[in-house]
Each structure stands twice: as C-alpha cells, then as structure tokens.
Amino acid sequence: MKIGVFVCHCGSNIAGTVDVAGVAQAAKNFPEVAFATDLLYSCSEPGQEAIVQAVQEHDLDGVVVAACTPRMHEPTFRRAVERAGLNRYMFEMANIREHCSWVGKDKDANTRKASDLVLQAVEKLRFDRPLQAKSFDINKRVLVVGGGVAGIQAALDCADGGLEVVLLEKTSTIGGKMAKLDKTFPTVDCSSCILGPKMVDVSMHPNITLYAYAELESVEGYVGNFEVSVKKKATYVDWDKCTGCGLCMEKCPSKKAYDAFNEGIAPTRAINIPFPQAIPKRAVIDPTYCRQFIKGKCGVCAKVCPTEAIDYEMQDSFVQEKVGAVITATGYDLFDYRKYGEYGGGRYPDVITSMQYERLLNASGPTGGHIQRPSDGREPKKVVFIQCVGSRDKSVDRPYCSGFCCMYTAKQTILTKDHIPDSQSYVFYMDIRAPGKMYDEFTRRAMEEYGAQYIRGRVSQVYPYKDSLIVRGVDTLLGSQVEIEADLVVLAVGAEASRGASELAEKLRISYDAYGFYMESHPKLRPVETNTAGVYLAGACQGSKDIPASVGQGSAAAAKVLALFSKDQLESDPQVALVSQARCVGCGKCVQTCPFGAIQLAEDRAGNPKAEVIETVCQGCGLCTVTCPQSAIQLQHFTDNQILAEVNALCQQAMEESFES
C-alpha cells in the first residue's frame, strides 16, 4: 500500500504549537508511507488540489490528513480523495488541532503527540478496505406526529410540496395549545382567526390523511422505509357517520365530565366536541363519565343522534402506514401548578394557571370571554401574575427558562386592562425575557400604556383572607417584603416535555434531554434534525418555544423532508456490520443485542443458521461485534484489527520510549 500523509498548519492554529514540518518528516518513516508533506490550509481549494495531485502523481492508495476534527472536515476530504480516484473510505484523519495544538502549550510534547496521532491513523489506514454505499428506494410519504401549530405547518408545507402526509393527533382535534389561546403576542391578534384557516386547510388538503384521537403504536424500519402502526383509539362514535351536529352533547345527561380543552374551568358533557372550530368536528364519548359505561344504562345520545353514529361497542383499531420520514411535533405540557403548596393551586379556586386564564379571556371559552373568579363569578379588579412557576427552579427540577411566559404574561395584563378598564395587574418577575422582534417594546407597553405594575421578586406565599387572596412577596429592588390583597392570582406555569414524550422517543430511537425534550442533532447547525436519519423535530417538543419559532421550525422540518425526498434513492452508510459466514456459528447472540433489529438469522446452503445483517437498517454502533463470541461479525471501518492496530501504534511508541530511558 502507498500512503500519503498531509499535515495541516491551519495558519497558526496548528503550526503555532506543533512543528508541522517535523511531523511530516517523521511520517515519511512510518510503514507504507510513500509521500508526506505539510500544507498551509488543507481544506482550502489549493490544499485539496495538492492532495488530489499527490494521489495521482505518487499513485497513492490511501490518504491521511492530520488537521482538525473529523467531525468537521472528514466529508470534505473524502470527497477530495474520491475526486482523485480513490475509494472515499481509504482515508483517515488525525485530529492534531482540537485534541492537540489547541489544548497543549508545550511545542515539543505537542509535536510528539501529533506524530503519534499520525502513526495511529496510518496504522488504521493499512487495514482500511474500499466500501461501497448501497442505494435503496424510498417511500416519499411523511408522518407528522402531533397536530399543534408546528405539526400543522409542517404537514401543510410537505403537502404543498407534493408529498403525501399522514398527520397523527392524540386528542380529538388538531390545533394544540394555540387553539386554546385568546390572543397572541406581540400583535394581540386573535389566535383562532389565524390558526382556524390553517386547520381547515389541513382537513381539505388532498395530500393529507388525518388520524385524530390516535397514537403511534410502533415504528419499524429506517430512513426512507419506515413502517408505522397507528392506534385509533375508540371514540364510541362512528366518525364516518357523525356530522358534528352537536345534538348528542346538548342532550347528554352526564354534565360533569372533565373538560380538557377548557382546562377544567367548567365541566362538559360525557359526549363532547371540544370546540366549534374543531378539526375534525366529531364527537367522542368519555367512558369515565358516560352513564352507559358506568351504570350500563342511558343511551340518550344513541337515541337522539340523527345519523346513528353512536357505537358503544367500539374497540381500538390499528392501521399500518408506510412512510419515508417522520416529523415529531408533539409540543409541550404545562407544569403541574399544585406542586407549589405555598401558592395553593388546586386548593384555592381563585389561584389559576395562565392557560386557564386564556380560556377565561377567550370569547368562545366557558365564560364567554368575561373574566370571572372561579370561586364566586365576581369580576376581579386586582389580578396578580406570578412568573417562573415551574421554571428556573432547581427545587422542582425545572432549572430552565420556559421562554414564552414573560411574553404571554405581558399579553395577559394588556388583555385584562382591555376587559376590565378599572382593573390593576401586578406581575412578580425575576427577569423579563423578551428577546424577539417587537417583544421588548411589547412588555414596555404593558407597563407604560396599560399600567401593569411589575415587581422584581418572587412570591413566597398566597393565602385566602376574607374575600381576597393575600399575596406576599418581595420587591428586591426596594429590599422590602410586599403584600397585595388580590382578587385573582394567575400562575405563569412553565412548559415541560409533553407527557409520553420519552416513550415516543424510544419508539423512534431519538434521544431526549434530562427533562424529556427531544435532542436536536446539533444545537446550532442542525436544529431540526435528530441523530436518527429520517426523523425531524418541529415546535416545542424540542424545547419550549413560542408560536413564531414553532411555525418556523415546522417549515424548516418540512424543507428537510422535501430535500431528503428530492432524490429517488438514498445511499446507505457502508460502515456497517458484516458477518463472516465461515466463522459464524449461528448462536444468535448478536441478534438479541442489536438495538435496531438489524440482524436476522438465516440459513446457509447447508441449512446451518447464520447471522445476516440488513445493511440499510444497521446503524453501525458495533455492539454486535463486541458481543460475538466468534469475532464473526465485524463493524466495517472499525474492525477489531483496525482498533488493535491503533492501540499498538500508540503503545509501541510508549514501550520504545520506556526502554530507551
């Protein structure tokens, strides 16, 4: 084998603390090295050209570039060696910048280390084999999980781009949190006026199949070829027949059902259509409240329904869908306001959450848009808002900022003043986080034009006294305890990962952070991709965010899917496991170990069981290689021999040194 070594200066980034020419000189003595030189900027156009020329001039079989981290330029150089006529896997990088020149000050030590790293790469390269990517067909359909504003946007953009879309929503209507909001910051325009048309578009779009009241049961397959099973939960109403007339709801005698859409502010009926603009507008029976289910008798809805849609015997059903990509848009849930005993949420009726307040403000909400205290229906005059409830609080394991509550609180003070002109709002805050376009101007308006009183400090306790709630807090700017006799207390509850987010992540094999939010591939440069090919993120499931950001990410995820599907075939990464038929004894250990189900047991011609890797499914983790008692299954490009060669290269050097001295 003829190997070429190129040692990069990276200007002074490497050359400043490594004797680059010295390393290149030393490399000339390494096994099978036919050519070695140093380059000023390897990744620049002249740098790459020099590599291509050297390969051709010296008839090289493999290339080592000693430069920055392979996580940065490995693809760049692989393309370069390919241009030079080599297989792109006949290439190795030695990381002498991030792992060497940037972390050590001693030039001699760095130079020794750099040349060790070059030797290590050379030794590995000697075992490299050309690998060929396989092409495979893809299914150009996309599954969107979650029908909030982010999911809606992603679904519409994909559908407009010509893709078939399957949209999955676990509740009986799409719309997510935004459907519950009254107005939206920073423009204070009506939430349903801007969301409603989009929801209708979803229902009318010929490319979108909507499964509401449905959940993802299981996922098999890989990018381009996922097979998903969708569970359609029993609604006890035949949606093909139901017209959404609402007669059943009117007549249902069970009137104390929990109204999730209205955040429990008022009860609803056991058979329910969450709100008039629901998409799909279909009824669902809640069996925990329905008398037919509890007591075995009632049947009123079945009698009144003009289309005979009611079906008490209905069971969950399953449908299978084949898609090539998945976008998760499962949003967030709200922090449980009962966790702060000192605020009395859940104990004192007039201590409510911000989302409950949105429902009170909303003209189509249970109070018709009149702000009324839950306890006695009285119109509150003094409203206290407490920010950061369940955010930025290590004691409840929520150290992060939810990002949007400062803004919606400002919005709610403005709306409070609009609804009740002689009211006064008080906001307890720690910091005001309003970094968006027109955002800070908005919070200033709440204070300057609408007279909201902002108090810098936290509230330590809320308790009822006579007809009011005593709110005791601190004004840290004054250095004083402060007290307000409030009529209503609104808790700006923070966002947390959507319930069930981690289970869904495990099905999709994507990772999530310590709080259950989904992990993007790179926090800055790949914010809508996951580390699992073909799975993308949109909206608050990746981390709390407001509507503009959610919509932006929904569109971005759609663009990623459209780019993915712009080709008819995808190439698989050939750095996958490979079974040596001769060595495999068919014990099946690898089959059990593979987290991706990429190995199956087949029979060879003699009828002996042998492991077989499905190349397109294998993710290249190497678990199987370590598991196999016969060393029969080897991860290509990271074989036992290659890693041991690296170990040897590093230790040999040390051994020699230790005997020298």
């Binding site: 702060y340 005993g341 308790y463 009822p464 006294y465």
Partner: protein, 308 residues
C-alpha cells in the same frame, strides 16, 4: 387490635413545666389508645434553639446523648410531642447519617457513642402513620361536633422536608385528619406553618405580638371557635400571650388554644385530670358550651326529621 405499639419516649423539658398539660394529655391519650411510652431514663435537654445558635456539634451532641440512651434501651423509635425537640433530634440524626465525620466529632464528646440507629418521630406522626386515623376515630365517645377548629402546626414540625420527612411542608394534614375523626369541623386554615414568633416572647416581645397576632386574626376571620396546636411554644405564644396581643394590637380575641391531644382526650371522654384544660389561659368553657349547644340543636333536628 393491631400489635401493641411501643416507643421510647422523650418528653422534653417544657413538658415538666410550661406545657405540663400537653405532656399529661399526650400520655393519657396514648394510654387510651394502647400505645406504650417508655420514657428514656435520665434523658437530658436537647438544647433547643439556643444550642444550635451557638454551635452545631454542641447542639447535636446534646441530642445525641438522648439518642444514645434510647439505643441502650434497645428501642428502634423515639417519639416526642415537642416540635422543637423533634427538630433537634432529627437534625442531629440526619446530619450524623449524611456526614460520618460529623458523627465522629459528635461522639467524641459523648460518654456513650451514638450509633444512630433509632428513628425519630413526632407523637403526631406515630399516631397517624403507625396507628392510623380509623383506630383513633373508633375511640371517640363524645364527638366534638359543632366545634370549629383552626389547626395550627407551627413552623418546624414539617420543615425542611428533607430532614423532617413527614406530611406536606406547606399544607400538612395529619392533625386535620385526627381532628376530623374526632367529629370537629376543621377549618381550612392557610397559615398552618407560619411562624408564631418562637422563643422571642421574652427577648423581643414585639415580634410575637405581630406574628401571633396575625395567626389569631386569621383564625378569627374564619370563624374559628378554637385553635388546635402541637407545639408548646406556639401554645404559649397564642394562649398565654393572647391578652398581651390584644393590648398591643387593640383587638379582643378570645380564642382558646388547645393541644390537639387535649381535644382527643375530650372526645375520648377522658377526665379533667388527664386533660388539664384548667391550665389554659383563655378558658375553654365558652367554646365547649357552644359545641354542646350545637350538638343539642343537631340532635333535636335529627329527632324532628325522624318524626316526620
């Protein structure tokens, strides 16, 4: 009947004097419920607040002496009625468990080292967790129907939760449950864990006037007939100092402040010598009379509805 409950018992110094009524009624109630209290022989003072104000090893050593005595009795659980003692004993045990070096240091000052094996609980915790509210309710002979009670726990019985490890630190309910079982009407008293002024009655009386005054005011605004408490210091501040508070705040509260054990004894039908209600500064008579009237009125109502 469940197997007999038996505990090492740490009465605390105030039980011998200012809170004798708490002490006597606690013992009487436990007797009635078949709970055996074995007083720790020759127990000494836990040092209360003044000790931990001076030094933590010192405070822990005073407590650990008693824990060690309980260990020598072969007991696995110590119970005490007084929250202040409870805090000192529990903080000492907790810290010795968390920091072996601290335990060593503490033991250096003791005659018999403390191995730290006994669990420390309040009598209240033992009653609710080990015996259970049903067993208590079963013992009731004279329900306290019609008596509106504000339950007040004091600031340190449940805080900080990492150490005290019992009930909710913001809204404890153990005493509520017991009182409800006695037939009383338990008011939703929101300042259950707010501080009463603690031991500042002597050195900074003004503080107690403000803090205890606020507690009385809230109970009064809720229409309480009485306050129930589990803490000698709270009881003293709210009861003994009630006249001082009235004078300082220009109010006229007349709220009897019972130990919850006294109320249990009342409902169990125990005798005055076991309750020592006569030791209350604000007399219990009017509240109890009101309860009596309410009970009679209810009985009459009952009889009438039956006739109809």
């Amino acid at each position: 009947m469940s197997p007999e409950l038996s505990y090492a018992y740490y009465p605390g110094c105030s039980g011998l004097s200012t809170s004798k009524d708490y002490e006597i009624s606690t013992r009487a109630v436990c007797r009635a419920l078949g709970i055996k209290l074995q007083e720790i022989p020759d127990w000494s003072c836990c040092g209360s607040t003044p000790a931990h104000t001076v030094d933590h090893v010192f405070s822990a050593a005073l407590s650990a002496r008693n824990l060690s005595l309980a260990e020598q009795m072969g007991s696995d659980t110590v119970i005490t009625p007084c929250p202040s003692c409870l805090t000192n004993l529990k903080v000492a045990a907790h810290r010795m468990e968390q920091e072996p070096a601290f335990q060593q240091e503490v033991n250096r000052h003791l005659q018999e080292p403390c191995v730290n094996t006994v669990q420390v609980k309040s009598v209240l915790q033992a009653l609710i967790q080990d015996l259970g509210p049903e067993a208590i309710a079963k013992q009731v002979e004279k329900p306290l129907s019609g008596l509106k009670i504000a339950p007040y726990y004091g600031c340190i019985m449940n805080r900080p939760p990492e150490v005290m490890d019992f009930d909710d630190p913001e809204n404890p309910v153990a005493m509520d449950e017991i009182l409800r079982g006695l037939g009383a009407e338990v008011l939703p008293y929101p300042l259950k864990v707010e501080c009463c002024g603690a031991s500042y009655g002597v050195a900074r009386k003004d503080v107690v006037m403000q803090l205890s005054g606020k507690l009385l005011d809230l109970a009064d605004s809720l229409g309480a007939d009485a306050i129930a408490t589990a803490c000698p210091l709270c009881q003293m501040n709210l009861d003994l100092r009630q006249d001082q508070i009235n004078a300082a705040l220009k109010r006229s509260f007349r709220l009897p402040v019972f130990y919850y054990t006294q109320l249990m004894g009342l409902a169990f039908g125990l005798e005055e010598k076991d309750l020592l209600l006569n030791k209350l500064n604000v007399p219990a008579g009017p509240a109890l009379a009101k309860m009596q009237q309410a009970a009679e009125a209810a009985a009459e109502q009952d009889a009438q509805t039956k006739e109809q």
